[in-house]
């Protein structure tokens, strides 16, 4: 009985705890540097845009945002069509070795990025691709491609089989069925997959840190991780940058949360 009364409060508190760090960071990014650690840190008396102005004018965060958009966008555009083709075959076309392929893709998606940094670095150096967009897109494919395939296999398996079978029965080929029947039904799944792939690329840090050399090619996470001050840590600017890095992914979550949850859990619960 008492739990019933307490529950809304308990949950409100949990939500509060979850959002508190983001709230503090957001407030701090508008707080004058001198008040950041003072008494009024959580409710400053004055809000300023200085830090945001500084990250764009002095730290060229605009370039980093552009770099991130290009690299994450291109990787997503490459992965979704190629991955969809593969995922459809894995989900629907019965062919020998399917399980092995699925298991390998899962195993590859689990392997640590650091374990391929050394050969990728040597390869990109040989091809003179260090510090270029291509030099980031190629490494990003290593985790984005398995991710896309996984999400889409889960999605394709949930589509009703009957429609496709009817089309196949009518003599439409596998590819034709995919193009004319499955694809139009799949926009939600493809969209969610694209959003998640973009999100992982946008957030990626290790590869971007290893394969770029300067602010010209830094992605957003690398740029803000390397903000340095002359005498002290420029917290206001770091948090302003952090907020800018978070904004796109927060928007995506707001827009597509229901679908994201469905995409993430489609495989997990079917067992």
């Amino acid at each position: 009985m008492s739990w019933r009364l307490l529950r809304p409060w308990a949950i409100a508190m949990l939500v509060g705890v979850t959002l508190f760090p983001l709230y503090w960071a957001a407030v701090a990014s508008f707080t004058p540097e001198s008040q950041l650690f003072g008494q009024s840190a959580l409710a400053p008396t004055r809000l300023v845009f200085d830090h945001y102005r500084a990250v764009f004018n002095e730290r060229s965060l605009g370039t980093a945002v552009l770099n991130s958009l290009v690299v994450a966008g291109v990787t997503t555009l490459l992965c979704v069509p190629i991955g969809a083709l593969c995922a459809y075959a894995l989900a629907r076309v019965p062919f020998r070795g399917r399980t092995l392929v699925l298991t390998s893709v899962l195993a590859i998606s689990m392997f640590p990025q650091i374990s391929i940094v050394s050969p990728l670095y040597l390869l990109l150096r040989e091809l003179r691709l260090i510090d270029t967009y291509t030099g980031l897109v190629l490494p990003y494919l290593t985790f984005a491609m398995p991710l896309t395939i996984w999400l889409l296999v889960g999605f394709f398996r949930q589509l009703p089989r009957e429609i496709e079978e009817a089309a196949l029965m009518d003599g439409a080929g596998q590819l034709r069925t995919l193009w004319a029947i499955v694809l139009p039904l799949s926009w939600p799944g493809l969209g969610t997959t694209a959003i998640l792939t973009f999100l992982y690329c946008w957030n990626e840090f290790l590869f971007a840190l290893c394969f770029t050399l300067g602010p010209e090619r830094y992605t957003v996470p690398v740029a803000i991780a390397l903000f340095r001050g002359q005498y002290q840590v420029p917290w206001g600017q770091i948090l302003a940058g952090a907020l800018i890095a978070t904004l796109p992914v927060a928007l995506l979550v707001f827009v597509a949360q229901r679908r994201i949850v469905a995409g993430l859990t489609s495989g997990a619960i079917k067992g």
Binding site: V15, L22, A89, Q174, C210, A242, V249
Partner: protein, 282 residues
């Protein structure tokens, strides 16, 4: 018909598999090859000499290597335990909600979607004091903000996974148990836990594999310091490769990391059975 179908299946899968083979499997094999050489980009006059397993011997006899392994295992054990326990509690709480689930779900997804670098920076800021770095100056205390940041980011995600599992459990089971006078705790241990086992296992496996490659959050919070007190294996390898430019030795480290994770992953996939698939962890 069947034969043609099978060939078409392979053809459709081929482009993606070729990409994966070329840029993911290829580099792994190259790393194995490279690990047998003395290859130091800072001392090009040494050339690239075959030295057999000497890079591995060097790693295994290096205390910093073992410390980094210890840090990684300890971090994984503590943070994953916290995340599973708290995630389960959170999932059960949200599952019993009748209204406002959408708001809660958004709040839960947000930390997971925030870039890990941002999570690390924000938590470091919250633990920073204007006078000095009390937390980050102590070899043991420095772990507290790191683990908290990781738990904050991932617990809600674990909860989302478990929540999906919870919602698959038949309500009638609970009603029947209630009729028989089973307490809430008895229902939890008798119905919820056993039926949630597959989902729990999936969450456990993915979080563990993911915790073993921890890098981003520690890089921005402590940089592995003070000294090397919070240096995980991924960061040690990073510094060998990109700061010391010792590619032979660094590749040996990479191969060992890869080998261990791969074994873990295989065991995990076996445990889960073929059907249970889920997305790779962030």
């Amino acid at each position: 018909m069947r034969r043609g179908e099978a060939r078409r299946g392979w053809l459709m899968a081929l482009p993606a598999l070729a990409v994966i083979a070329l840029i993911a499997l290829g580099p792994v094999l190259w790393a194995v090859w490279e690990s047998l050489y003395l290859h130091d980009l800072r001392m090009p006059w040494l050339g690239r000499r075959l030295i057999g397993l000497r890079n591995y011997v060097e790693a295994l006899s290096n205390p910093r290597f073992w410390e980094a392994i210890g840090h990684t295992v300890a971090f994984a054990a503590v943070s994953v335990t916290l995340e599973i326990v708290l995630g389960l509690a959170l999932a059960v709480a949200v599952d019993s909600m009748t209204r406002g689930r959408g708001v809660v779900r958004t709040a839960m997804l947000l930390p997971w979607a925030v870039p890990t670098v941002v999570v690390g920076l924000v938590w470091r800021f919250m633990f920073e004091t204007p006078t000095g770095l009390i937390w980050f100056a102590d070899p043991l205390a420095a772990w507290v903000p790191i683990v908290l940041a990781d738990v904050w980011k991932t617990t809600p995600f674990v909860a989302v996974l478990l929540l999906a599992g919870l919602q698959n459990i038949e309500r009638s089971l609970y009603e029947a148990a209630q009729m028989d006078g089973a307490t809430a705790w008895r229902q939890f241990t008798g119905i919820t836990l056993p039926l949630l086992k597959p989902a729990l296992l999936v969450a456990l496996v993915f979080r563990t594999v993911d915790a073993f490659r921890v890098f981003d959050v520690i890089y921005v919070m402590t940089g592995g310091g003070p000294g090397t007190a919070t240096e995980p294996i991924a960061m040690y390898t990073f510094s060998v490769l990109l700061e010391n430019l010792r590619f032979g030795y660094g590749s040996a480290l990479s191969v060992m990391i890869f080998g261990v994770t791969f074994l873990l992953a295989l065991v995990a996939i076996r445990l889960m059975g073929r059907g249970a698939l889920v997305e790779p962890a962030p």
